[in-house]
Amino acid sequence: MDDEALSRTLTAAVRRVPGVTGVHRARTAAAAAEVVAAALTLREPDVLVDVDRHGGRVQVRAGIAVAGDRAAADTVRAVGECIRDLVDAESASSADLVSVTVQLVEDPVPTDPPQPRD
């Protein structure tokens, strides 16, 4: 699996972790350029987890938004474990570093839309 496909898999998996409300790029110096690229649809919006291989090391970085009705620390631990386990399973080499940062704690979002009254 190449890095882009791995990132897409990781992005989708992180979105499914209970308590995660959004996946964002880990903040980097290139963030402004990435915003422009995203606006021009030059970058797949589903490829948001950074996968970096350098010198035989695999480093993965992600930024997330989480719901406030679950402890943010619990959610970020679950996301870290999810990424680590997936990289270990999908990649030829295991992850050397998995960095996950909570960038936003949001108000709980109702899972069901309000029902009209009779």
Binding site: G22, A72, A73, V76, E81, D96, V100, T101, L104, E106
Partner: protein, 192 residues
Amino acid sequence: MTTDDLPLPDDDLDGHTIEELADYLDRGRTPVDPSIEGSAACRLAMTNMQRLRELSVGALERRADAEPDREAGWVDRLLEAIRAEVRPGRDVPVAHPDPRLQLALTEAAVRGLVRRAGDTMGGVVMGRCTLDGDLEQPGAPVRIDVTAGLVYGEPVEATADRLRRTIAEAVERHTGLVVDAVDVRFDDVYLP
């Protein structure tokens, strides 16, 4: 000088301005702008702005006619505080037994949840929030300074105590930080 005194870089809101976000909120967040919705900083600012609007619209309408200059200044200060708080700041580590996992909340996320805790408590509108302490050391004690507007008629001491407890509980629940103290200063009074 603290980090809060430093000029804000242009990309704090990932290329957007607080005015653009206000317009976007006015339009009901339609049409959806992926560059705004995909930015944690923009979403943090919009969450706080939206809550501010919901809390203070009545007060704004009542006071705008009587004291337009004072009212504009109050809102401007709150918006400036919200804008300043989107700067990511320091990383607040979250402990994990696997050393390969490096987990954290940004300081902006922690400030945001302090604001959220206060604004949803009732009786106050949150102003500025400052975190003082070695946030980058797990378990280090932290001191939180906040300013807030108080709803007219609410008891000062009891509301301040309730706000301290609410903020401390929220921060400790979400981050694992040890809250040493929460200092509250009411800098305005508004009509409910």
